[in-house]
């Protein structure tokens, strides 16, 4: 029996077991399912979920010295809640959401709550999230809050408590989705019949709500991210892909005459709804933090003129400060005429005499910390006193409270309920809290039927629950007592209900796709050259041959140091490709991403083990199969629109330039003996050459096949045709009926090449061709990407 060793802590509520030791009804099915499996079956099932997360690239980034990452710590056993209880929680939290909306509207409006003494002025005036440039500015949608999360935990009395309100740019909804996909893998066959409510409907309602806020026909809604350096970027990309929304960085946006615009390859396009994952302070260097490189100068102007709805309004983050928790009960009475439907963790603002006295008297059962802090209780932060331990502060409690009272709050330490965590092949009770999500939809506030649970690590204080301190996360199942409607979109894959027309490609995304195409192709070329060298190395007599010397010189020109089995340059080129791909992660499938990550890992591993010579040649063969795997996934799966065109143009340009370079070096009349065969080999055209010419390689056959043959996917002509074709389909290919500068330049290259014969295409002409191709990059940048 899987539960035989499961022992909840005395006096602490447990999610799985009732106080009398019986299994709560919503858990019965899952426990029976787990009990019915053999232990190796169970481990295999759990491993499927873990494998999915690894493939999808979900991980936790560590901070500090090493900046390394570790596997996403998903405990495979979900937290289960009955649908009825969840619905009641949703109603209570909707009231809380309305209350928060009224408070923030007052703080940026009349400031009646402070004037009438319901809120101390100093917790507003001293709050860095009270954004003075936005005081008096009404949000375009009429609401400040559209998407909230609440960190909740079950207290000793069995009821839910709010530990913190998240109003700025709540994260975690994407992780809730990913956890669900992983648990669907682990519980395939069981989950679909377990009456677990689906998440997709919640996201669809929210997305439809966002689209309904757009100001004008043709304007868009997008997601604003701080970019790939942010710890939750993965989630931003995931959600963008899931909802089919543009993922934008501050630099992608500009303000034109009070309207917010996206820089795209089709010029400036209006956007009027931004779901921001960026903290407000960084949003506009002109009026907020001046050093921000993440924001958009003038964004506040667009907000002021109601040109854009921000989800949530800039400045709404003030409600996250702990001090507000102290006043929520009273504000509920003042504004709603009744107590809070869902209470929050008991909090006292130490600016008041009576509150200070209470905190002083009860310090052993409290956390005392900064009133303005937006961290949740017990997240690591300086200046916090736990259970009256003053050793870090260096003052005695009375002096500290008297001097700093207005800047401090005391919070009661509550012990949270436990839930089963899967550890070392068995279930252990661990303290838990859940992040739940609430969206303003066209039918009012809606609570996500699920959430993102965090479980404490073994031995941790029951109220200290944090992934960064070794805890785990879990999926949250809301189980109905009747079958739930099939809403299977979520279970298939990330790319589900994409509905928007694909027209808008931000210039930055186009730039990254173009360079991704170039770097991947460049890496492939470097591998082929290296393989050609390594496969000849063991047979090369001491003192070398003219061909090997020429090859060494050529490799060196491209930065490839062949004294090592895997030249470090290959590693670098792949890192550039990964970096470019990382900036446009929302545009790739999980498989494509996994394949690129696999390539990077393999190169890293090989670098330390592979020796020059045959060993390296076969290693290059492995890498080539992997990299063509990535190209295959991208070209097979990517939607054939502007983004794919930029990727393709980048790849074709790189390949054509490299081939012109190769032929100019090894395809010349006076190239060293063996150069023609080398060209055919590096050009991966050995079979084709044999079939077409059935003679040994000569200069004519080589140049014909690798430069001029429009049917050989390795030839220059083939790629020039491809570039021309893609360029003609890009926005702005012609300007008022005339060809654009880029179209003309490509046509010129194509026409020049078409009139050549193998004899006339000599080294100097090949060099000219390479240069003309190189010029195209500059023109593409000037026209689309700057």
């Amino acid at each position: 029996m899987i539960l035989s060793d499961y022992m909840p802590l005395p006096g602490v509520p447990d999610e799985l077991l009732a106080p009398d030791g019986s299994i709560r009804p919503v858990w019965a099915g899952l426990i029976a399912h787990l009990d019915a499996m053999k232990s190796d079956e169970r481990e295999r099932a759990f491993a499927r979920g873990a494998q999915y997360l690894r493939d999808a690239g979900v991980f936790v980034r560590n901070y500090g010295e090493d900046k390394s990452s570790r596997d996403w710590p998903l405990s495979p056993v979900p937290v289960i809640q009955p649908a009825k209880e969840w619905q009641a929680l949703g109603e209570g939290l909707a009231e809380r959401a309305d209350l928060l909306e009224e408070i923030v509207a007052d703080l940026y409006g009349e400031n009646r709550l402070v004037a009438e003494g319901h809120l101390p002025a100093s917790i507003v005036a001293s709050n860095p999230e009270w954004l003075r440039p936005l005081v008096g500015v009404k949000p375009a949608s009429g609401h400040f809050l559209h998407f909230l999360s609440f960190e909740i935990g079950r207290g000793p009395d069995g009821g839910w408590w709010v530990l913190g309100d998240r109003t700025q740019a709540p994260s975690g909804a994407g992780y809730a989705l990913e956890n669900r996909v992983a648990s669907a893998r682990s519980y395939s066959g069981f989950l679909s019949g377990a009456n677990v409510e689906r998440l997709a409907g919640f996201f669809r309602a929210f997305r439809d709500g966002l689209n309904a806020l757009r100001r004008e026909e043709g304007s868009r809604a997008g997601i604003l991210t701080p970019g790939p350096m942010n710890e939750t970027y993965f989630e931003h990309a995931y959600i963008a892909r899931y909802l089919g929304m543009m993922l934008l960085e501050g630099n992608d946006l500009t303000v034109d005459d009070g309207r917010l615009m996206v820089r795209t390859v089709s010029g400036l396009q209006p956007i009027s709804v931004l779901w921001r994952r960026l903290d407000a302070i960084w949003a506009d260097p002109l009026e907020l933090e001046p050093s921000s490189h993440l924001g958009t100068p003038g964004l506040l102007g667009a907000v002021r003129s109601q040109g854009v709805t921000m989800i949530n309004a800039l400045g709404a983050g003030i409600l996250e400060s702990r001090a507000f928790l102290a006043f929520m009960p009273r504000l509920s009475e003042v504004l709603h005429g009744k107590p809070l439907a869902v209470p929050n963790i008991a909090t006292w603002w130490c600016g008041g005499e009576a509150e200070r006295a209470h905190v002083r008297a009860n310090a052993e059962a409290m956390l005392i910390g900064p009133a303005n802090s937006t961290l949740l209780p017990l997240e690591a932060e300086p200046g916090v006193v736990l259970r009256g331990d003053m050793s870090e502060i260096g003052l005695d409690l009375d002096t500290w409270l008297a001097a700093e009272g207005r800047n401090l709050v005391g919070q009661e330490l509550v012990s949270l309920s436990t839930t089963p965590s899967w550890e070392d092949g068995g279930l252990k009770p661990r303290p838990m809290r859940i992040r739940v999500f609430m969206a303003r939809t066209r039918d009012g506030w809606q609570l996500m039927p699920g959430g993102f649970a965090r479980l404490a690590a073994s031995g941790q204080d029951s109220s200290a629950v944090s992934i960064s301190r070794g805890g785990t996360v879990a999926d949250v199942w809301i189980v109905s007592d009747k079958p739930v409607p099939e809403d299977s979109m979520l279970m298939q894959s990330g790319e589900v209900f994409v509905r928007t027309s694909p027209g808008l490609l931000p210039s930055r995304a186009a730039d990254n796709l173009f360079w991704l195409g170039r770097y991947v192709e460049r890496a492939e070329g470097q591998m082929r050259l290296t393989r050609a060298y390594m496969s000849r190395l063991d047979e090369t007599p001491a003192g070398g041959t003219p061909l090997m010397s020429a090859l060494e010189a050529h490799l060196e020109e491209h930065g490839l140091d062949c004294s090592e089995g895997v030249p470090p340059q290959i590693d670098k080129t792949i890192a550039f490709a990964v970096n470019a791909a990382n900036q446009v992660r929302d545009r790739f499938s999980v498989d494509a991403w996994a394949s690129l990550a696999d390539l990077e890992r393999t190169v890293e591993k090989m670098r330390h083990t592979v020796r020059p010579g045959e060993d390296a040649a076969s290693a290059m063969g492995v890498l080539l199969r992997k990299i063509t795997g990535f190209s295959g996934l991208v070209h097979e799966n990517m939607y054939r629109f502007s983004g794919w065109r930029f990727l393709t143009i980048g790849r074709s340009l790189e390949r054509a330039i490299a081939m012109a370079d190769l032929l100019a070096t090894f395809g010349e009349w006076k190239s060293p003996h063996g150069g023609f065969e080398l060209c055919v080999e590096v050009g991966d055209s050995v079979m084709t050459h044999r079939r077409r010419y059935s003679v040994t390689a000569s200069r004519d056959t080589v140049v014909d096949l690798l430069a001029l043959d429009p049917l050989n996917p390795r030839s220059i002509a083939f790629h020039v045709d491809e570039i021309r074709n893609q360029v003609s389909l890009l926005p702005g290919a012609d300007v008022n009926g005339q060809l654009s500068e880029l179209s003309r330049a490509v046509l010129r290259v194509q026409a020049d090449l078409a009139v050549h014969t193998p004899q006339s295409l000599d080294k100097s002409k090949l060099d000219e061709l390479g240069e003309a191709l190189g010029q195209l990059t500059n023109i593409i940048h000037a026209q689309f990407l700057d």
Binding site: V114, P133, P297, G298, G301
Partner: protein, 295 residues
């Protein structure tokens, strides 16, 4: 005695590579302050002409001009002209309160509008709490001292201890660093004094403005007159209100001081804010001339 001034301020920027898509906010136009100064006429010319330009007031009531350029340009010249009548200064007019009284009065404040002292108590971007400055402030405090006297004494002490050095610090040198080396320009003097006063609980802010360029006959030329200047405003209770002290010149602001803006620190009232999208570097120059129209 009322003074009438003509103010000319020019800022020019040159870019190594042409800048495109620039957007800036200027805060340099003298304010209208009842009983203190009157703006008779004022204009700002910008060359090249920006694609959009809007004038409005910010949270603190400062006048600002927001401008945006679409076309690439290699230089910008901003020329401000203003005629201002200055009718009074900002020295404490009546006896102020002592520190404990002041702290109690602040606790009773519920006003959150522009001139409320509540905005000027907490850490701000350029005026972060510093233990050395707080220690310096505590060591000068005497029991029963009036807030107006504390302001004057701190300002005078800083003027004595600090060396004015136009090259020692930059806009981004932390005040704590300037204080440790006891040198800097008006911006440093002002931020240090703000941090010192706030550490005691005296609300204090940053004033950006202009100084008369040439002194009246027989008087010394004031430091900081060839560019925009900065000094401190401090709140000394509801009776006295805001007083302004110029620690660079060890004087309360009088009719030689013309106010352009109030803020918590430099970042609220910087004459120019906003970045250019430019690849190379940029150079800038500022020149100021404040001439009395009549004595």
């Amino acid at each position: 005695m009322a003074m009438l001034y003509d103010i000319k301020m020019t800022m020019d920027y040159a870019f190594q590579a042409p800048a495109a898509g620039a957007r800036q906010i200027l805060r340099a136009m003298p304010m209208v302050i009842a009983g203190r100064q009157r703006l008779i006429a004022g204009s700002i010319d910008i060359d090249p002409k920006p694609a959009t330009r809007a004038d409005r007031e910010d949270f603190f009531g400062n006048r600002l001009t927001e401008m945006a350029f679409n076309e690439p340009h290699s230089s910008v010249v901003i020329a401000l002209k203003a005629r201002v009548e200055v009718t009074g200064g900002a020295a404490p007019g009546s006896a102020s309160v002592d520190l404990p009284t002041l702290v109690r009065m602040i606790e009773a404040e519920t006003d959150l509008t522009a001139r409320s002292p509540l905005h000027f108590l907490s850490a701000s971007r350029y005026a972060r709490p510093d233990a050395a400055i707080a220690q310096w402030a505590r060591s000068r405090l005497r029991p029963g001292q009036q807030c107006g006297d504390i302001v004057a004494e701190f300002g005078l002490a800083l003027h004595r201890e600090m060396r004015f050095d136009a090259d020692a610090t930059t806009v981004d040198t932390p005040a704590a660093e300037a204080f440790a080396a006891r040198h800097g320009v008006c911006q440093d003097f002002t931020h240090i004094m703000i941090i010192a006063l706030r550490s005691l609980g005296i609300p204090s802010g940053y004033v950006s403005g202009y100084l008369r360029t040439l002194p009246p006959p027989g008087q010394e030329r004031l430091e900081g007159a060839d560019a925009m200047h900065a000094w401190v405003s401090a709140w000394c209770g509801p009776g006295v209100g805001w007083v302004e002290y110029d620690p660079t010149n060890a004087t309360f602001a009088g009719t030689d001081h013309i106010v352009a803006g109030y803020g918590r620190d430099y970042s609220d009232v910087a004459p120019v804010r906003g970045a250019m999208r430019t690849a190379g570097g940029q150079t800038s120059n500022q020149s100021v001339d404040v001439a009395p129209v009549r004595e």
